[in-house]
Structure formats: C-alpha cells, structure tokens
Amino acid sequence: MAEYPTPTTEQEFAANFAQIKPLMSNTEALYESSRCLFCFDAPCIKACPSGIDIPQFIRQINTGNTIGAAKTIYEANYFGNACGKVCPTEVLCEGACVYNLNDQKPIEIGRLQSHATRKVIDSGKHLFGPGPANGRKVAVIGAGPAGISCACELRALGYAVDVFEAREQPSGLTLYGVAPYKITNAEALAEMDYLEQQFGYRVHYNHRISTREELQRLEDEYDAIFLGIGLGATNALLLPGEERTNCVGAVEFIEQLRTEHQHVAVGRKVIVLGGGNTAMDAASESARLGAEDVTLAYRRGKGEMGAYGFEYDLAKGAGVKGLFNVAPVEIVGNGKVEGVRFIRTATLDGQVQIVPGSEFVEPCDMVIKATGQAKQTGFLHLIPGLQLDGKGRIVADTRTGQTSNPRYFASGDALNGGAEVVNAAAEAKQTARGIHEFLSGN
C-alpha cells in the first residue's frame, strides 16, 4: 500500500502536495512574531545570503506594519515571498536562530516572511518603482531568480530592461524546479506579476537566445547583457540502458510535475539515483504521486549525502526508503525500465570503491536520475572572451559579477554552479549594482 493514493484531480494533487510552509494567518503571525528576541547583530541576518534585516521585519509585523515588513524584505531580496517558502531556512536563518541553543523552537522566519510579502502582493500596493530613466538599456537572459532580481534592481536604477526567457513563464526554478509542496505555481507567479507591475521591465517569453546572431543583436542594441541562464539538463550517467523508457532526469521530471501536476505518470516502483536535495525532492514527489515503493539509491553512506537532513526526513516521511553504498551499473529492461543493476561500494579514505562480485538487480519500473545538472557550456562558448572554470561555471568578479567579457555580467546557478533561489536573488541584486558601476562609472 502506497503512502499516498494516486492523485486524479487537482484537489487530490493539492492534498498530496500540501504546503509544508502554509500561509500564516494574522493571528499566527502576531503570536510568532511576538517570540522574536530582537537579537543584537542577529545571527539570522548573517545566515541569510540576501542579508534581510529579519528582526526588523518581524518587529514590523508585530507592530501591525506588515507593509513596512514587506518593504524591508524586498529591499534586500526581490524573491522575498518565494524565498520564505522555498529557502532551506532550517539551515539558514532559522538554523541560526538563538532559540535553537536554548532547546526552543526557532522563530518561523520563512513563514513570517511569506506572510508579510503575500499581504503586499495581494494588495498590489505600490512600494517600489523604476528610477528616473538614464537612457541606457540592459538585456537580461533568463527570467529566473537571478534574471528577475537583476531586472528589478536595474529598473530601480533607471535602466530600460528587456528580459528574454526561453519558457512560457517567469521565475525559473521557483516555478519549474522546486517541489510543489514548497510553493504553488500561483504563489510563484503572483510575486512575478507584482514585481513586473512595480518595476516595469519587459519580459519576452518563449524567446530563447541560443545563437551567435541573437547574441550579436543584443550586443548591438544593449549597453550590457546579464546572464541568468541557470543550469541545463540532467547529466547523463553514461550507463548502458539509460535510454530505456521511464529512465528520466530529476530536473525534467520535476518540471513536468510542476506544469502537469497529477497528469504526470509515475512508476509503481521507483528508484531515484542520487543523494542531493533534488534526489530527495524527486523521491518524495514520486511517493506523493502514488508510487507504491520509492527507493533512494546513493553510492556512499547515509551520512555522506549532500542533502540537508530535513530534506531526507521529509522524503522518509513520505515513505521513501534509502539504499546506501550502491553504484548503478546498468539500467536493465526490455525497451522499458525493469530494474537497476547495482554494485555495492565501500568508502576507503574518502574514495568510493566498488566491492567486486557484489552486483545485484533491484527491480523497478521507473528510474529518476538526480545526479546533477549539466552547465550550458555550448551556449556560453558563443560569447567572445567569456571565461569558464574547470567545472563549466562562468568566471566573474565576486563583487560586480562582471565576466571576462566586460559587457557581460552573470549571477545565479550559471555562476555558482547550482545553489538556492536566495543565492541567485542576492547575487543578481549585487551584480545589477556592478552593471551600474560599469555603465555609469560610479
């Protein structure tokens, strides 16, 4: 018996994927905000990649100035609402809350943050606007957390901004890559609408920039170009049988899930390969789609997984089982996936070594590969003089985000190799300042 019944309607889908950080009511927000100690030089702020003045916005919520709270949040992070929901707060702000050291529940900072920003989004209240036009234009490639954050900040500085987005809708990972129980599509899009309304940048959807000619046009028409392109498809495992039907990439699986909900077919017995947060998401999602048996297979020990502990707990809570110290050798089957041939591993001096003769086949009817995403190096090589590091990441100035091609700037996953929404939002805001510095000379 599966942990979750297979959802067949939007209501059943919503029930299986119930928000783990649901919206706070006013009363809940009042009680929770009352608990904040207002620490001096607060550890939560330091733990926030976007440096939101958390005690300040919590105090504002507590005094009935929710609009002011939202302003405090957005001044530091344009993805304030999404971050409140999708951030791994357990290891960031909430993990740093001093209450943890007193065996008390940390303040629910993420939910308070979403509460305040949601109020403003729902009200449509005008908090921000574009700065006086300075006559300069910037092209932003990618309408994800990096691209949109950069666009907002540039608009505030008076730039005309065109955002080019390959997909149909904005917000990137937040809409296409985050587990549905962390944020709903409606929530992610509402924040995007709000920001677009406030700042007035133009987004060109279904407009993928992929050729040298298109880049040339941008270089001709714009004073600077911002790369917020994120990562590409799931890395190939280069294993025999990988092409079999029902052997899919986690990123692709999650994107399909976010756009098609209960219409996504999941296997009865699913094996998820990987030990990172995306693997946890894919496993948890498979279970919530009604898979009877979901196994996480990781080539090292449980304690060595890259995933946050709370993410693994969440997956276990959905009925996911762990299979550790196994490396996939082959995806077996006959046209369709019928199992994964594993070989057992042992870790010696930090190195994973296979145990000879220990092969076995774990039957399944679906394999989800959560083994990292490829960098978009093919595209990046179209940019003259753009330097990449050994892992295919864009090399840029850590303060200004300027790349080795001075008119190109970058932030987010394409630069940092894959991090949280909050990292991209924070970096891009800073990079926008770098662009301004470059174009205005101050």
């Binding site: 100690l37 550890p43 990292g372 940092n416 991090a419």
Partner: protein, 472 residues
Amino acid sequence: MPDLSINFAGIKSPNPFWLASAPPTNSGYQVMKAFDAGWGGAVWKTLGVPVVNVSSRYGGVNYRDKRLIGFNNIELISDRPLADNLREIEEVKKFFPHHAVIASLMVQSRQEWHDIVRDVTNAGADGIELNFGCPHGMCERGMGSAVGQEPEVLKTIVEWVMEVARIPVIVKLTPNISDITEPARAARAGGADAISLINTIQSIVGVDLDKFAPYPIVDGQGTNGGYCGPAVKPIALNMVKNCAQDPNVRLPISGIGGIENWRDAVEHILLGASSVQVCTAAMHFGFGIIREMTAGLEQYMTEKGFQTIYDFVGKALPNVRHWEDLNLKYQVKAHIHEDKCIGCQLCYTACEDGAHQAIRLQEGTRVPAIIEQNCVGCNLCSLVCPVEQCITMERRDDATEHLTWKERTEAGTIPVTFNDDRAGGLHHWVPEPVAALGKERHKTLPGKARALGSPQEATVSAPTATDVLSAS
C-alpha cells in the same frame, strides 16, 4: 493543611480571595457561581441610584501577543434597581451563609447613606464597602474618586455611615491622588473599620490611529476610564505598603490591583493586605482561576510553614525602607554563565545603550563578557536575558560593611557641590562621546546597508549541497 480562612475586620471568609466590586458581581447569579467555584467573598457591584450606561465600555492594553495586560472601563455603578440587588444578596446569603458578601455603596446625601446602609444590612450583607474610588462618570457627579480625593469630605461621609452601620465598613480608596495615606487616615478618623485599595487609575488605554479617538470608542468618541489589570499591580503594591506602614492608618487592608494568581496575592499580603480582591483576571479568564489561586496559596503556606494568613501579613514590610536607609556598601556584579548563553547579545546592547557600557563582545564567540570595573550592578542585563539563570548578579562585597546615605549625610561625606570628587560616577569609566559614531551602524542597519551595496562584505554565495554533490 494550612488554614486559609480570614476574619477581616469582623468579616469572615473561608479564604482571602474576594471578587472586587465590578461587573463579575453584578448579580446574584454571578456571585453564587463564584462561591460555587471556590471564591471566599464578593464585593457586590456598587449600589446607589441606578445608572444608565453607554454601549462599548471596555478597552484593553495588549503587549505583543499577550492580551489585556491592562484594561480599562467606562462603566458606571449598578444599573439595576436596588430592590432586585437586595433580594439577590439575601438569596446568596441563604445558600452561602459562611461566605463574605460585602455591599459596595455610592450615594450622595446623608439620608441616602443612612437608608442604603440599613437596606443592605437588612438584606444580610456581611460588610459594606464605600466606593470613593471610581475615577470616571460618577466623580463628575460629586461621587466616587471626587470623594476619595478630598479627605475631609471622605471623613464626613464615613462619619454619616458609621452613625447607622451595624456591620464592618471598608473604605475603598482611589489611587488618583498624590499621597494615598491622606484619605486612608481620613477613613480611620471617620471611624471606618478597614480600607481597600486601589480602585482603578484614571486612564486612556489607547487611541485609534484611524478614527483619532480614545478607546473604548462610543460612536466615534471616548472618555477617560478606570485602568486595572496586571499592569497596575506595582502601583497597587506600593500604595498598599504605604498604608500598611503608616502608623496613623492601622486598619486592615484589602489589597486590590493586578491580582491574577497566587503569587500576586501573596505579594499583596506580604505588604500588608489581609484579604485580596480580584476583578480583571476573573473578567478575562472566568471564576475558574480561583482553583489555581487557592492551590498555590496553600502550597506556599505549607512550604513556608505558615498556619494562617496572619502568619505572613506584612512580612515584607520591615524590608521595605526609604532609599536613604539602603546599604551603599552592598555590591553586586553581573556574571554571565557562558554554558547557558545563547548569544542573543541583548545584554550587550542593553548595557551599551541603556546602562554603563560594562559588557563587551568577544572575537570568535557570540557570548559577551562583563567588564567588571564598569559594572555598577544595575541588574539590567539579567533582566533582559531570555535564558533562565544565565546572567546572575553576584555579591562582591564581603558583607562586613554597612553605610547608608543617611549615615553619610550625618557624617558629612556626601557630594554637595556640582563637581564634587565624591560623585558616584567617578569610579567607573565613561567612553568618549565620539567613540559612539559609526560604531555599530552597519550591524543595526544590515538590510539597508546591504541594499545600498557594501562592497567589503560582498562575496559569492557559499557552496551548497548541489555543489558538494556534483563534486563528489
């Protein structure tokens, strides 16, 4: 098993907990219910010529998520006919002959006082309380606090009452006066048997920021009300103490003001009260709070070995002294128990901004350190610390010396000129004013500082699990 019963100026009650004269004692129904729940006595909602009340009568003061730490009302005395009240008093006494029913009264003329005192006595009331405290509505008509604020008038009215009173008479005092002992002495001079205090404090509990009107709002407007609830306890305790210590008062005191649990009651008793009255807490939580109050009091008395309430009435009074009698040689200093510290640094910022700059931050840890030479032992850090027993105040003098301000004054060793080198503040350092500039601005304005771009702090994001994964 300690004995909780009292004999308050001749009024007997199974325990010292009485409901104060207020909405909870508006009817026989409520008083019966309270006695049934365990209350020892009740002071009936003030009787007189029935009033007409407004709708919208109470206002609250909330602190963060705590409701009604303060409360005010603009309700007047009983709006029910006297006959109805008298009949119900009689009925309550029939069911509860050993409980205390005290009739609160407020009328004007000598004849009215005589009549109503006889009426409530005939109805079976165990005592009378004269309401000389109500600070709103009635005082404008020459009653309530208008009487309590004029000791001579108060004395005269007490005398009128005593002319006919056959049961104990308590005078309820208003705190809306500079020296509470003046009306207390007048009550004694007039022949009263006891006093009760405090009545409510004249107040405006809040102003509606959108309607520009004080709470509670009556059709867009409001008026000053009577303030009570937990927030007024400190004021009440001080006034109870003042009356209890005054050699010219020497009357039993019924303590009122901010009592909502056994601890509050014990505090009132330790400062001289021998019965306590409760209103706001009953209005907030219902009569059921009496179970916690009696249980707590019983437990406390058992632990302290007190047989009766009278074993500890006024027990703290000898330790309440004038400032000039306190030992200037006593010295405490703050001590931070590092193992308990959670690093909120509230003590640091409190001492830095609100006290004597005697706490410093340390490299590599969020646990602050006390600068011993600058610590004046003010307690502030220990008061703001959110962790139990994390900051304690430790005695540093050897307890062999005792010198008071009074003694120093007599010995001629007090500072007397503006720049006297005997000034207390000369023995710890005070930072130079300019040292404050820019010191912590970046820490107290992090969001904005970040928004404006602080190049020196800018870095790329830290590696995450995804990084680790793709690298492995």
